[in-house]
Symmetry: C2
Subunit: 235 residues, 2 copies
C-alpha cells in the first residue's frame, strides 16, 4: 500500500480573540489529523493553542497534538537546533499521511516562527500551505478605532526599537513598532526628534482579555506591546 | 417610545475568497439590519458585496442593502461630497435603530474608504466598531508561499509608486507596493538603483479566481496588482 504524504498547513489564528479566526482556518482545524502548537517553555501552554482550543473541543473524532519547544532565545545556533528538531517531528507525521495544522499567533507570514519551520519542511519535499490570519497590528488598530493608512500614506512595520527605526522614521507616515515595552524610553527619545505633529497609541496584550489601549508611551513593561505612531503631514 | 441608535460596524471581508472572512465578521453579517456596500460606478456591482453574497443568501430574515456611490476619482472636493452623502444615508438608518455592516475589501484600517465614512459617523455621535479583515498583502504572501518579515526585518507598505518610495527604499527590507500595474516601468527603474540582491514577486487580482502570481515585474496592466520586493541583507 502506498501512503500519500500529508501536508503542512500554517494557520494564522489572529491576535487573541477566537472569533477572529477565518472560516477557512476553522475548517482546517476541524479536519486535520495533527495540530502543531509550539511552546516557548516546557511549563507554558501555547497561546495559539489556547485560542483554538474551544473549536478543537467541539471535534468528536481523534486528533493528535504536537507541542515542539521553541524557546525565546537569541542564540541562532540553538534556535536552529530547535527548528530542525521540530522539522523532524513534523516530517515524521506527514510521512505517515497525516495532515497537520501549525497554529501561529497573528499571521504566518509576519514575524512568525512558522516561516523557519516551513522552509525546512519544503526542503524535505513536502507540500506546505498557508492560511492567512488577522495581524496583531490590524487587530490593534480596529480596537483602537484608528486607521493605519489613508491615501498616499506609507505604513512601516518595525519589529524592534533600534537605530534602523531612527533612520527610517522621517520617510514614513504610520509606524507600527513591536515589542516596545522594554524600550519605551528609547522609543520616546527617537520619536521626539521628529518635529511633525503625531499621535502615539500604545496597545498592551492586544486582543487578549486584559488588553489595554492608551494614548502616549507605555510606562510599564509587559511582554506583548505594540506602539502605533501616526505622523500628521502638512498638506 | 425611545429608539436606541443603531451602530455602524466596519467589516473587512479580506482579499476575495469568502472563506477568508472571520467568524466574527460572519456573525455580524448574519445579524445586522442593513449591509452597506459602496460601489465605484452605478453599473458596477460592489466587489465586497459579491464576496459575502453567499452568506447573505443563507439568511432567512429581512435585511436592507445600501449601495452608496464612491467613484474612483482624485478630485478631493467631489470625493468629500460622496462621503458626506453616504454619511447622511447611513446616519438615517442608524437613527432608526438599525445596525449596519459596512463591507470593505481587505481590512477597514488599511487604505479603506471606510475610514472617511466612519469619521463622519462618529462626528455625528454614533457608535462605530471595526472587525478586522485579512489584508491583501498577507493574502498575497500566503498564496505566494513567502514570508513578509522575519527577525529584525522592516516591512514597508507603499500605496503608490512615486519619489517617496524611492527615498524610503534603502531603509526597509520588504516592500509591499500597491497599484503597481500602471507604473511597472517606473517601479523597475527605482528598484534597480538598489544594489542589494532582491526577489520580486507580482500578484494580480489577489485572492480572486483569476489570481496570477509571478516572479519579476508586471508587464500587463490590470487594476488590482501588488508587487512584493524582498531585499536580502548581507549579514
Amino acid at each position: 500500500m502506498i501512503i500519500m504524504n500529508g501536508k503542512l498547513i500554517g494557520i494564522g489564528v489572529g491576535p487573541g480573540d477566537a472569533e477572529l479566526l477565518t472560516i477557512k482556518a476553522l475548517n482546517v482545524l476541524k479536519n486535520v489529523d495533527v495540530i502543531c502548537a509550539p511552546r516557548s517553555a516546557d511549563s507554558k501552554p501555547s497561546l495559539a493553542l489556547s485560542i483554538v482550543q474551544g473549536f478543537l473541543d467541539e471535534r468528536d473524532d481523534n486528533y493528535e497534538i504536537l507541542e515542539p519547544l521553541f524557546p525565546m532565545i537569541e542564540d541562532e545556533t540553538l534556535l536552529r537546533e530547535h527548528w530542525d528538531n521540530a522539522a523532524v517531528l513534523i516530517s515524521d507525521k506527514l510521512r505517515q499521511g497525516m495532515d497537520m495544522a501549525f497554529v501561529t499567533l497573528g499571521d504566518p507570514t509576519i514575524y512568525s516562527t512558522f516561516s523557519y519551520v516551513s522552509k525546512r519542511i519544503e526542503d524535505r519535499g513536502f507540500e506546505v500551505e498557508i492560511v492567512p490570519g488577522i495581524t496583531s497590528f490590524t487587530g490593534c488598530a480596529a480596537t483602537a478605532g484608528i486607521s493605519l493608512g489613508e491615501k498616499d500614506e506609507i505604513i512601516v512595520i518595525v519589529p524592534k526599537v533600534d537605530e534602523r527605526l531612527e533612520r527610517i522614521l522621517e520617510y514614513g507616515d504610520t509606524f507600527v513598532v513591536m515589542k516596545t515595552s522594554r524600550h519605551s524610553d528609547t522609543l520616546e527619545k527617537i520619536v521626539h526628534q521628529d518635529s511633525r505633529d503625531k499621535d502615539v497609541i500604545s496597545v498592551q496584550n492586544c486582543g487578549l482579555e486584559d488588553e489595554i489601549i492608551s494614548n502616549g508611551f507605555i510606562k510599564d513593561k509587559k511582554y506583548l506591546s505594540t506602539t502605533i505612531l501616526k505622523f500628521k503631514n502638512e498638506k
